[in-house]
Symmetry: C2
Subunit: 203 residues, 2 copies
């Protein structure tokens, strides 16, 4: 078993690394060079036709891509500690928060990266006006998340979960592209300090 990875600051592979650190599971990582275009090579596309990382390769040759799906595989094998929730309501609420973080926060952050960042301008066709408009959408998403965090320590409630992992990778990637948490978001900042202090955040 191994995981194809590209290292920081890419948010998707980092989610898996933090998740495995929280679970105490060691899996070997095989680095893929985006600079050399290894993720778009035919031999890698046989592992994931979309040419994206991370990809988990099982010993029987099965491949699983999508960061959260790889985490679900390990959660099913090693249920404790339950990072996707233990009861039907917890399971649903953590899943809801994974999706909200991705659609509401990571969505506009990704649009800024793809369409308004100089570093991607040579790789993809950019729609700059659209990308620039997403800066404010991303900040407003952080303000919405700040309001949601009133009265609770973690994204999906009083317990640390995959939703926190997803949000941490999103917020740190946002900072990497110049979208820092706005000053008027004290709850989001406190949450960020709280989850960043965990040992797993170094993964």
């Amino acid at each position: 078993m191994k995981i194809y990875d590209v290292g920081n600051p890419a948010p998707n592979p980092r989610r898996v690394r933090i998740f495995l650190a929280e679970k105490g599971i060691a899996v070997p990582y095989e680095p893929i060079s985006l600079m050399k275009g290894e993720h778009k090579a035919p031999e890698f596309k046989e592992k994931n036709s979309l040419g994206q990382v991370p990809v988990l390769e099982l010993d029987d040759g099965t491949h699983i891509s999508e960061s959260i799906s790889i985490c679900r595989y390990f959660e099913a094998l090693h249920p404790e500690p339950a990072l996707f929730g233990a009861t039907p309501v917890e399971i649903a609420q953590i899943d809801m928060w994974i999706r909200r973080i991705e659609f509401i926060v990571m969505g506009p952050v990704g649009n800024v990266w793809r369409h308004a960042d100089a570093r991607t301008s040579k790789i993809v066709k950019q729609f700059r006006d659209f990308g620039e408009a997403n800066r404010e959408t991303a900040f407003n998403a952080m303000r919405w998340l700040d309001r949601e965090l009133v009265g609770r320590d973690f994204i999906a409630g009083q317990h640390y979960s995959v939703a926190d992992i997803s949000a941490l990778c999103t917020i740190d990637f946002a900072k990497f592209i110049g979208l820092e948490i706005p000053a008027d978001c004290p709850n989001l900042k406190a949450w960020h300090a709280r989850v960043s202090a965990r040992e797993s955040a170094a993964a």
Copy 2:
């Protein structure tokens, strides 16, 4: 218990209706009028601060939004038939396909709807060039899905799953906004006929 719903052709509430039909679970639906803006009213935003449907309301007042998360709640309560997979590999692969359908197919379809459709032009600020460019992205996503379907009957393998429900709602919504499956996608068309023939597709 009840589900706030807006009816067809919205893809998100339909996923839940098809899922419950496949499970044989009856839950009362309460219609929300988008035309009257009921989803943006303060009393609805207390149920889902994002003002989106569907929302599941439990008898204790707990609210769960996000279509797939609502489905996960019912899967945890009623595991059979297993529509999110039964083994760790199945669970991971079905989740991977749910995500691929959303990010790779629904992503560009949603961008066309939001940014290039006359019906949304009065509701949101549109970036028309961006929206128009997403038509080809959506068609190419369908062609990619067509290639992935070679040799199997359903989206995530040989068994019907939530990934098929998500893909059916996506493909039918794409058609609603003028993005029909391209002629060069025989596998996707055969899959679409296969899942549309199920009784649940009428939900």
